[in-house]
Amino acid sequence: MAVDAAQLTSLQPVPATAADRRLPGDLAVWVFILAELLVFGVFFLSYAFTRAHHVAEFNSEQLTLNRAAGAWNTVLLLTASYCVYRAVAAARAGARSRIDLWLLAALACGAGFVVVKLGEYAAKLAAGISLSTSTFYMFYLSLTFFHFMHVLLGIVVLGVLWLRARAGAYGPANLNGLESGASYWHMVDLVWIVLFPLVYLLR
């Protein structure tokens, strides 16, 4: 019975009453997500307001970035998020066999992001660019690298979810771990959605 009830509520796209509303995953993870958003927010605004004092320098150096690589990375992260979303949906619907496939797809997209990003870094490194080159490059490297570390952590999280999903850990009655990890990954995606236009596009 308990399982059935859980299944029923989880299949509701929008809960009928306020009492049915629930946060996906563990509260602790959400507290962590809020802290992360705060860090990134502070970093983004530091960038924006520092730029206001060095508009010409930022504008010209920004044009040296590889916008296409940034756009492809956006596509990869969004797609990974979509796959994670589908994995959670599969778990909720009790389609156990599809959970780990969707997670694997998400992992592949995450790995793609890493490859593209490393290529970008290699090109900049070869051009002799470092944290001390200029204020713009300091921000470009700091912001993207800090985010890059989050992608790596996100991949580790997805990897653990994938292993546990293969062991049959998730189903309609057991979603907490999967939803928590999924929420973290979406946060990594969300942050990039602001970071990409800010650092690569806005002039």
Binding site: Q12, R67, T79
Partner: protein
């Protein structure tokens, strides 16, 4: 199973919309477009994409309202302040 199916469709449309918005933003950020006029549009696109991720992928539309408020609030606040910073840099 109908709800589940509807949910999956929603997710897929969300994903496609996000990809479209990304392509548009990429074009806007290119060198052919006059950069300054693109700023508000790019920020609005980022907020819109963020809201989609927050509401659909993170499924906060089905969570207690304050959570959606917190995350969307973060997005709007950050984007607005970035806009202020860009405007203050113009003059």
């Amino acid at each position: 199973m109908n709800h589940a199916l509807a949910g999956r469709r929603r997710g897929t449309w969300t994903w496609l919309a996000l990809l479209g918005a990304t392509g548009f933003a990429w074009w806007l950020g290119g060198e052919s477009v006059r950069a300054r006029s693109a700023v508000p549009l790019l920020l609005a696109l980022a907020v819109a994409k963020g809201v989609l991720v927050v509401r659909e992928f993170m499924e906060l539309r089905a969570a207690p309202a304050r959570w959606q408020l917190l995350l969307v609030g973060w997005l709007v606040l950050v984007a607005a302040l970035i806009g202020v910073a860009y405007y203050s840099g113009v003059r």
